[in-house]
């Protein structure tokens, strides 16, 4: 395996107006790894994911995917913003699953998955339909392929959204609190699909408040605090040996959730 991480962020900064939200994020995701971002509300987790997928433009630092800078190229030592077409091509290599599912409301589950396959990857209708069927099957929704989003439960919609993202065969999948908008009884079905994906070797960068899931599935956990990485390491280390009061306080809020698992 090559030594180069699939995703490397170095000193990533981002401000909204005069408020600096990301204050120099360093982070690596290796091929096949699941890396989780945890941290209090407002610590910048979503903003970082959005920078990785170019839904926001970072102000400084580098985000490298397979060693290639995201969002700009360097020309004579100066940064030049990439054209929208190039940006779109980079985005196509990174999948994203959103908190609110964001399914296209005018398309069926199958068509939601097919759109990127036909229009971005240039596959034929028949092949795209087959791929869509395969992935909808993998998330347990083969029977719902002709349903429109409004005809699906939140958990089902989120699974379609995952199928839509995975079907594009991205190098990296981003998940932003994908279970936060779900009724509690629907959370497990979505986490189950994510766990399966992780098991199949998909590289994933996950923002989640589902601490049990984070602990079980992640190879690496990153605790963000106030726009910085405060602590990072394997889950056992981050969860069992928090090296700051902030992290201890943050984890303390989930104490009940860990139950007997902690010791």
């Amino acid at each position: 395996m090559s030594d180069q991480p699939l995703l490397r962020a170095q000193g990533v900064r981002k401000s909204f107006g005069s408020v600096e939200v990301l204050k120099g994020i360093d982070l690596e995701v290796r091929q096949g790894q699941v890396v989780s971002l945890i941290g209090a509300s407002g610590s910048g987790k979503t903003t970082f994911l959005r920078c990785v997928n170019l839904l926001e433009e970072h102000d400084a630092g580098d985000i490298l995917l397979d060693g290639e800078p995201i969002g700009y190229r360097v020309e004579n030592g100066r940064r030049r913003r990439l054209s929208e077409t190039r940006v779109s091509a980079q985005r196509a290599r990174i999948g994203m699953v959103f908190q609110q599912f964001n399914l296209f409301p005018h398309l069926t589950a199958e068509e939601n998955v097919m759109l990127g396959l036909t229009k971005v990857l240039g596959k034929g209708k028949a092949e795209a339909r087959e791929i869509a069927g395969h992935w909808l099957g993998r998330v347990g929704l083969e029977a719902r392929r002709a349903h429109y989003p409004y005809q699906l439960s939140g958990g089902q919609q989120q699974r379609v959204a995952i199928a839509r993202a995975v079907a594009m065969e991205p190098r990296l999948l981003l998940f932003d609190e994908v279970t936060s908008a779900l009724d509690p009884e629907l959370v497990a079905e979505v986490l189950g699909v994510m766990q399966q994906l992780a098991g199949s070797g998909m590289t994933m960068l996950v923002v989640s408040h589902e601490m049990l899931f984070v602990r079980d599935v992640s190879h690496h956990v990153v605790f963000m605090d106030g726009g910085r990485v405060a602590q990072a390491g394997p889950p056992a280390e981050v969860f069992d040996r928090p090296d700051s009061d902030r992290l201890r306080g943050f984890l303390g809020r989930f104490h009940g959730m860990f139950g007997g698992v902690r010791h």
Binding site: S88, F98, P105, Y148, M168
Partner: protein
């Protein structure tokens, strides 16, 4: 009170002419809606553009049309343009031009509201799968927007159909004009106006009902 004796034979005798006139009116409305939709879309995108040289003229166009009585616009185009040596069109084409510009202004407002209320999340999902800018418009934003704005588009079609009666003012042989001609020939004023009113009413109501079916078919999607 003077007794008025109804003689409906004037209607049956002129049924063919009235039917043709009705179809012409419908055709004028549909063609103008189609052209107006294209104009309206372009105008809506121009209005939302951050380039002032694009958004300002369009703003002026929309406000001018919206604040002018339609009848004056019709006269302006039909009698005014030939004064500037623009006279390649006949009266029907002139009317279609006017009604299309008129429809375009109103449609642009409809589309501007539709685009403005487009939830950001759909565009972001479209970006996330790697669709290029025009693909995002073509496959996501426009289809969703048409569904959002369908009720307003329906309203516009009905209004446009009724507005075709103003074409009578420049002797386009639509329903109102033909009715006036039959009146002049036969003096059966009551029969003619009652029948023509019924035709407008029934046609407009039928359009409304059909469009409501279309709306119901699509409304469920959102």
């Amino acid at each position: 009170m003077i007794q008025y004796y109804f003689d409906w034979s004037v209607i049956t005798r002129n049924a063919g002419a009235l039917g043709e006139a009705l179809l012409l009116g419908l055709g004028l409305a549909l063609v103008s809606l189609a052209i107006g939709t294209v104009i309206g879309l372009a105008a809506a995108y121009a209005r939302l553009s951050c380039r002032p040289w694009l958004s300002w003229p369009v703003w002026a166009y929309v406000e001018f049309i919206r604040c002018m009585p339609l009848l004056l616009l019709i006269f302006f185009v039909y009698f005014g343009l030939p004064e500037f040596n623009i006279s390649w069109f006949d009266k029907t084409q002139s009317f279609i031009l006017t009604l299309s510009l008129y429809a375009g202004a109103y449609m642009s407002e409809v589309f501007r509201a539709g685009l403005g209320s487009m939830p950001k999340q759909y565009v972001e999902a479209a970006k996330a799968i790697g669709l290029r800018p025009w693909q995002r418009q073509r496959y996501v934003v426009l289809p969703v927007m048409f569904r959002i704005t369908l009720p307003a588009i329906s309203n516009n079609l009905i209004s446009l159909f009724k507005d075709t009666s103003l074409a009578a003012a420049i002797a386009v042989p639509e329903l109102t004009f033909v009715a006036r001609r039959i009146n002049a020939d036969t003096f059966r004023v009551m029969e003619v106006w009652l029948s023509v009113s019924a035709l407008y009413l029934i046609t407009a109501y039928t359009i409304a009902t059909l469009l409501r079916l279309v709306e119901r078919r699509y409304a469920s999607i959102r």
